[in-house]
Symmetry: C2
Subunit: 492 residues, 2 copies
């Protein structure tokens, strides 16, 4: 059927097309059916929605991923993509061959899978797992689509944390140390999806983070490093789609986690990588045994992709640093670079930097690089290259005006600090969109407190959001204090 | 945030709302986030899409499921529904409690789950299965939402086929026999989703099939029976949503199948039910053992719901009847009622009707009711009640003008007739939307053919569709003929 293309302004990453019900009936196109769209030199696929009035008979409404298409197009009903059969195979717990995983990756990249099918894919992998060979093949396929960066030096270090820990903004500190040690470290990071701040959100407090690949190359040439948003360059775009499907379900099966991390590292051109695996209550990995198994698998897939990967198993049950939220984490980062700041953040940054330098065969001391002011200096050079203000100091970073401190109602010992609850509170207070919102934790597990000691302080830019976070805080218990005589938690 | 409601005409069954990007950013609402919409006396949930131009700042665009909402509404970001947690639990292969399944059913009913989450739910059930207790609880919950019908007589018979067999339009014949035997049989059927014709599509050749519950009651009071489209009354609406998620994946796990069938039967007020379980190559159930296990589970769940359920295990590897497609199946149905027609259709209808009468404790002979013309008479009365023409005869039912017959290229024996391939061909020819499109199978497994004997005839309303079906037929082998001396299938 010949139809006239018209653009429809609905924010969707999927190639949805709107057909007038009469045209759709004539085509035999049901909702969510796929249609093949032929025009000029290109053939592409759209997912059907029907409308009575929004587009007229004889026209086809194209959403954003298809806005490039103009003029008259030929529309036919298309079959279901092959990868749906392979998704079903995985649901049947049958191992997928390399070409089958490649087809799935290809169809995800072309946005040919509906959300139902994408949900089924991540569910199938979660329920039935991926073998190490499947993980290798999936990672390989994922790193083959999208943009890639390549660098002159033979050694390109990188680090990545599998996440789940509040605060934990070690990356800017590590990049400053490694770049100052003379290595090339082009670091791409993510923005928050379900957390109160991604590294890219924290860096945005200091400078710009969205750059083209050419701009990234010139920043790195000038300063040895960069701290940019990975979403600005389409590195491993299939990973972004898979994460979109995992997030609402709060699942992150090991096979997809490994493929996600390593395909991104490979696309960005890293050769020597340290992966931070925090484990413990509330973290993504619960046990040391689980962390070790994940580490072994990550290393094996890494070597399959010709990357030198090593893993740091770290403590994941407490936050790292004190601040949670873009500005509050940026303040901790800068304080550590200035020679102060929370000890947990300083120590973890030093240990990971040591591992990374050692892994790259470079003899240098992160402690010396930090204490000499070299890391701070290097960080300021990166800020200049990314159009930020190098004169900024930790004291300039002020959280939101609205604040409220929660205090202990008893004498006792802090028995636990809950990452997940802290993140929820910081988000409720407005982070990451309100960059000055979030919270500061005043206690760590094992600290002794007396009645009236402050446990955490909430910050918000908007009074209503502080109230919301405060009332959520009343129902949660992000900092648990146990009195000496406490046997009963509560009676109700 | 206060926003002015405006309607958006996009055909979707989900409560999608369009927010201007500026409003969405201020709310902190990402794509696919859920928002709570408060207005007047009602509170409901919407799923967010973002737009730059389609709705202005200060307004919220509401898709069809929310068109009832007018005026100014209060919009806040809502949390994720509890059922997502239970979906994840099922992905972890943990048995779900009754209240957890009830929550899932409730959230599906309220359209609170995104497609990714719905895809994950059916995938989780497919990958990890449902215990018999879970199936009982799910069925119970599903039958508790939506409309229900209730009838005066204490015995309300019903039949259902789990599907997968081409043709197989026994329902109108059985209803005519049972109604003529004096029992009340209010039959609701489905339209085709992935098949070339549902019973409702076949009945629509004769008469109207969409009625309100009141109209259904009056048709049944007048004639003892009805043959209407179930989708016209919202009986077990959650089932419709689950089927929508299963279809693209071509999965139909036993637990969901049982819940689907029995929740619908319970909603429609049936007390005595025969379930037809076709088994064999290409059918939903492959083996006799599998069919027996499914039958036992169906009966167990049925008795949990206080329904008297019995199962008929039938041959599922061949089509039942000759015609496939709405008009062609309607012709077979009417021919059987007139005393002619395909023997396979006549015999299966009689056997199932016998089982159903026996199951209800009624002593009557379906063969006599058919042969005496009583069933035809009753069928005509139902047609009158459903605004159809009672004078129609099988000869009046003419398939599409475009036709083509495939003939055997050898002497031999028909070793198999492939249901799935026949259905694909009939759909390609235009069924079910082109009601006169489809095909007629001329041979059954075991038939002897000589070279040049016709195997099947394709019918279409549109020449282009006949060509498409024909070319697909060349690649498939819906009717397999093996010559006496055939050892090699082909060399290539």
């Amino acid at each position: 059927m010949q139809l006239k293309a018209t653009t429809i302004d609905i924010g969707t990453s999927r190639p949805i097309v709107l057909l007038n019900v009469d045209d759709a009936d004539e085509l035999g196109a049901h909702p969510l059916d796929r249609v093949r769209i032929d025009h000029a030199q290109e053939t592409t696929t759209g997912i059907v929605k029907r409308t009575e009035r929004l587009v007229e008979q004889g026209t086809i409404g194209l959403t954003e991923p298809l806005h490039r298409i103009r003029g008259t197009v030929t529309v036919t009903v298309a079959g279901r993509p092959h990868s749906v059969e392979y998704v079903r195979k995985k649901l049947d717990d049958i191992e997928l061959a390399a070409n089958e995983l490649e087809t799935i990756v290809h169809d995800i990249h072309e946005k040919r899978l509906s959300d139902i099918e994408l949900g089924a894919f991540v569910s199938a992998v979660y329920a039935n797992g991926l073998s190490i060979e499947e993980t290798e093949n999936l990672t390989q396929s994922m790193s083959n689509v999208g943009e890639t960066l390549r660098w002159e030096p033979p050694v390109v270090p990188d680090k990545h944390s599998i996440g789940g820990v509040a605060g934990n903004c070690v990356t800017p500190i590590i990049v400053a140390i490694i770049a100052e040690a003379g290595l090339t470290i082009p670091k791409t990071s993510s923005r928050a999806v379900t957390s109160p701040a991604g590294t890219a959100d924290v860096m945005e407090v200091f400078c710009e983070v969205e750059f083209t690949t050419d701009e990234i190359k010139s920043i790195v040439t000038e300063t040895n490093g960069c701290l940019v948003w990975g979403g600005g360059v389409a590195l491993s775009p299939v990973d972004d789609e898979i994460i979109r499907a995992e997030n609402p379900l709060s699942i992150d099966p090991a096979g997809l986690l490994i493929a996600s991390v390593l395909s991104k590292k490979r696309s960005v051109g890293s050769t020597h990588v340290v992966i931070d695996i925090p484990y413990g209550e509330g973290a993504k990995v619960q046990s040391l045994v689980g962390a070790r198994e994940l580490a072994d698998n990550i290393k094996r897939v890494g070597s399959h992709l010709d990357m030198d990967v090593t893993c740091a198993i770290t403590h994941g049950s407490d936050p790292i640093g004190r601040g949670i939220g873009p500005v509050l984490e940026a303040r901790d980062v800068l304080a550590v670079l200035e020679g102060n700041g929370p000890e947990s953040l300083r120590l973890k940054s030093i240990r990971l930097a040591e591992m990374l330098l050692d892994h790259c065969g470079v003899d240098a001391s992160p402690t010396d690089i930090l204490d000499s002011g070299g890391a701070l200096n290097r960080f300021r050079r990166i800020l200049v290259a990314q159009n930020g203000d190098p004169e900024i100091s930790a004291d300039d970073l002020v959280p939101g005006d609205e604040s409220m401190t929660r205090r202990s109602d008893r004498d006792g010992i802090v028995t636990g600090v809950d990452n997940r609850q802290l993140c929820e509170l910081a988000r409720r207070a407005g982070a990451p969109l309100d960059s000055r919102a979030g919270l500061v934790v005043h206690q760590s597990a094992g600290d002794r407190v007396v009645e009236g000691d402050s446990l955490y302080t909430l910050y918000a830019e908007q009074p209503a959001k502080l109230v919301e976070a405060e009332s959520l805080g009343e129902r949660l218990e992000p900092v648990r204090v146990r009195g000496k005589a406490d046997a009963l938690v509560e009676r109700r």
